[in-house]
C-alpha cells in the first residue's frame, strides 16, 4: 500500500524531504557518471583506432605508389 496520501506529502517526507531527495539525487549522479563514462571512453577509443587505420592505409598507399614508380623507373632505365 502507498504510504503517502498525495504528491506534496511524498515530496515533503514529513520534513525529511530535503535529506531523502538530496541523497537520491547523489545516487542518480553516480548512476549517470557510471553509464556515461564508458560510453564516452568507447567513442574515443574507436575514433583513435580508426584514425590509426586510416593513417596505416595512407602510408600503405604511398609506399605502393613509390614502389610502382620505382618499378616504372626501373623499366624506363632498361
Amino acid at each position: 500500500m502507498l504510504y503517502f496520501e498525495n504528491w506534496s506529502e511524498f515530496l515533503a517526507m514529513d520534513g525529511h524531504g530535503f535529506y531523502v531527495w538530496s541523497a537520491y539525487a547523489v545516487g542518480l549522479l553516480v548512476v549517470i557518471y557510471n553509464v556515461l563514462s564508458p560510453m564516452m571512453a568507447k567513442r574515443k577509443v574507436i575514433a583513435s583506432i580508426q584514425r590509426q587505420e586510416r593513417l596505416a592505409k595512407g602510408v600503405g598507399k604511398m609506399s605502393s605508389i613509390t614502389e610502382s614508380s620505382l618499378l616504372q623507373d626501373g623499366r624506363g632505365a632498361q
Binding site: L2, Y3, M13, D14, G15, Y24, V35, V45, S48
Partner: protein
C-alpha cells in the same frame, strides 16, 4: 589438458568481449527493473521507521552502495592476486576498470551517510571508526587510480596497483567490525548472514531487491568499461581492427 585450455580461454580478452556482449541486454533490463521497483517501493510504499521517520528511506541506497564499495574492493584484490600469480592480463584490465566504479560507490556511501547523519545524529560527520575506515577505503581507491596514472611503464604500473590493492585489504575487516570493536555512533549491521534480520519484512524486501539491483548495475557498467579497455589494449590485433573497421 581440457582444464588448462578452459583456463586459457577465461583469460582471453577476445573471449570475454564476445561473451559479455551477449550478457549486456539482460544486465540492462534486470538492473533497471530491480532498481526502479526497489527504490519506488522503498520511497513510497514502505512505512516510516518508528524512530527515524522518513529519513530512514536513505537506507535503500546507503546500504547497497556501502556493500558494493567494499565488495568491489575485494574483487579488485582478487584480480590483483590472479594477476600476480597467473599473469593474466584480463585481471589487470579488470583491476583498472573497477577502481573508478568502486570509488564512485564509496563516495555515494559517504555522501548518503552524511546526509542521513544530519537529521539522525545532528551532524554531517564524526570521526567515528566506521566513517573513518570508509573514508580510508575511498583514499585507497583514489590511491590506486593515481598510482596507475603516475607510472609510465604499464607492466610496472599493473604490478604496483596489484600490490597496493592487496595491502589495502586489511581495511575491509576493520570497516566490517568497526561497529562491534569500537563504541561508534554508527548503528550496527542491518543485515547479517548468520542471524535472522532484525528489520521488518516490509522494509527488508525492498532493501534486498535494491542490493541485487546495485550488484547487477555494477556488473553492467563494469562490463562496459572492461570492453572499452579490451578494445584499447588490443587495438593492434586483427579482430579489433575487423570489429571497428566495419
Amino acid at each position: 589438458m581440457m582444464k588448462w585450455t578452459f583456463f586459457h580461454k577465461l583469460g582471453s580478452p577476445k573471449w570475454f568481449y564476445d561473451i559479455s556482449g551477449k550478457w549486456l541486454p539482460w544486465l540492462q533490463i534486470t538492473s533497471l527493473l530491480s532498481l526502479v521497483v526497489a527504490l519506488i517501493w522503498g520511497l513510497a510504499f514502505t512505512p516510516p521507521d518508528y524512530l527515524q521517520g522518513n529519513s530512514y528511506r536513505i537506507i535503500f541506497i546507503h546500504v547497497p552502495a556501502s556493500f558494493l564499495a567494499q565488495a568491489i574492493y575485494m574483487m579488485m584484490a582478487t584480480a590483483a592476486a590472479v594477476l600476480l600469480i597467473w599473469r593474466i592480463k584480463l585481471a589487470d584490465m579488470a583491476l583498472k576498470v573497477m577502481a573508478p566504479i568502486g570509488a564512485s560507490f564509496c563516495i555515494l556511501s559517504l555522501a548518503t551517510g552524511a546526509i542521513w547523519g544530519q537529521p539522525t545524529w545532528g551532524t554531517w560527520w564524526v570521526w567515528d571508526a566506521r566513517l573513518t575506515s570508509m573514508l580510508i577505503l575511498l583514499f585507497l581507491y583514489i590511491g590506486i587510480i593515481a598510482l596507475r596514472g603516475a607510472i609510465q611503464t604499464s607492466e610496472v604500473a599493473a604490478k604496483a596497483c596489484a600490490i597496493l590493492s592487496l595491502v589495502g585489504v586489511v581495511n575491509i575487516p576493520i570497516i566490517k567490525y568497526s561497529v562491534n570493536w569500537w563504541n561508534t555512533l554508527h548503528q550496527g549491521a542491518t543485515l547479517k548472514l548468520t542471524e535472522k534480520p532484525s528489520m521488518a519484512p516490509e522494509m527488508l524486501w525492498p532493501l534486498l531487491l535494491s542490493i541485487l539491483g546495485f550488484y547487477l548495475f555494477f556488473t553492467l557498467v563494469m562490463f562496459l568499461r572492461l570492453r572499452v579497455e579490451i578494445l584499447s589494449r588490443e587495438k593492434k590485433t586483427r579482430w579489433v581492427k575487423a570489429l571497428v573497421g566495419e
